[in-house]
Amino acid sequence: MRFFEYESRRLIEEAGIPVTKYGFATTSEEARDIAADIAGPTVIKSQVLTGGRMKAGGVKFADTPDEAMEHAADILELEISGHTPRGVLVDPKAEIEQEYYASVVWDGTARRPMMLFSDMGGIDIEEVAETHPDHVGRQHYSNLHPVSGFLAKQCIASTGVTGKELTGLVPILTSLAQLFVDRDMTLAEINPIARLADGSFVALDAHMEMEDEAKPRQKEILTELGIAEEDNREGYEPSEFELNVAAIDAADHRGVIQGKDTGFHGNIGLVIGAGGGSLTLTDAVRSQGGHPANYSEIGGNPSVAKAQGLAKEVLSKDGVEKIAVMMSIVSNTRVDIVARGVIKACLDLGKDPGETIAIFRIPGAWEEEGFKILDSYGIEYCDRSVSMHEAARRAVENIQGVAEPKAEGA
């Protein structure tokens, strides 16, 4: 779950990292008042969950409170990559002597958190790592031992930073490392930390992401920030289909369903699973020249109602007349239960299951019972002797009229 910049500033402030006298405004008048309070030149920053704010015109400088108000009014209306700002952050414009980069990320291979630091802040860290590798310091740290300052010190010192710069930056990176573990972050980034003329350091930006799985145990801070439990903060606005499927999933604890259609523009409705099976089948349909209308996942041991709910949502999508119901061999999902669910979805919508279900390919637990059900409704099905790719080919042929397999490696 991604935090807005103004929330991230609050998080690092709470962790003892120096921040500016920033303010968060949802109206241009509020922005003017904050700027007046700051009594100096300001930076007005769009508060959206996507990057590229500067480029899109979402970051502006103002010399007076009135100018701040004007810029805020513009930015509040400015959509960036499909996102409307929640508000603006008003920052005092800093007299920057030098910019640094500091972050903590998860290293999946080492299975430890890792600090990243550079004395070339303000720009793309990946670029710096490529062009100036000795200006980037990395330091893994233990999951079990307490976070200690010497780790940050090693990380920063390895870039050549020494003297008062070093001793001033160490507490900041240490606090960031502690925050990363205390708050179950997957990313904690400050770019840039600025060194000001008087030698002090301050965070001029903050980007934090918390692991979704950890949200139940981070309720206190999330409530403090005013973040609702259902607020998932996907990188994009979920579609109606996605929200409906999520609601059906949430209402019934039996099994799991998921549906995604952002980025899918076809007419082949996919009622598929499980996780790996869904990925494989989506690839398989496309490799046969098919155009999926959506992605979905059925997992665990869902109720008939849950399977029905997913199939109904898929069939209700614009342009979807037929669905392909396919899964990898199932062990704890029941073939007969899924069969009942998808048939009921068709009946619910006044459709003939035999005409609407292009292919049913789910081998595994309770398949004999499932096949009886499918036979009784005249539905085209196949067992495990038919591969996932062949089932996909049949689905494409049935729904699009002809399968056009792409050449190997295409």
């Binding site: 109720s303 239960i337 009942r340 009921k344 009886k372 059900i373 009784s376």
Partner: protein, 79 residues
């Protein structure tokens, strides 16, 4: 709304027995059976969730409860 795939046939004796109704209600993992003061109620909207576990068939006296598979030429689970 009756079940499309599953039906349940219950004898009058079983239907009128509140104690047995409670036993059936406790046994069924998908809440097909509800117990009232008068005896047994079938929760029709849950019929299609039946997982063919036979717990109801075995909890009732022989022939008391039959689970009918409407998709299988009326084949039944009974004892």
């Amino acid at each position: 709304m009756a079940g499309v795939f599953i039906d349940v046939e219950v004898t009058d004796e079983v239907k009128a027995d509140p104690e047995l109704a409670q036993t059936l209600s406790d046994a069924c993992p998908v809440n097909i059976y509800a117990a009232t003061a008068e005896g047994l109620d079938i929760v029709e909207e849950n019929l299609d969730e039946c997982i063919l576990c036979r717990l109801c068939v075995d909890a009732a006296p022989p022939g008391g409860v039959k689970v009918v598979k409407l998709y299988d030429d009326g084949a039944t689970l009974e004892r």
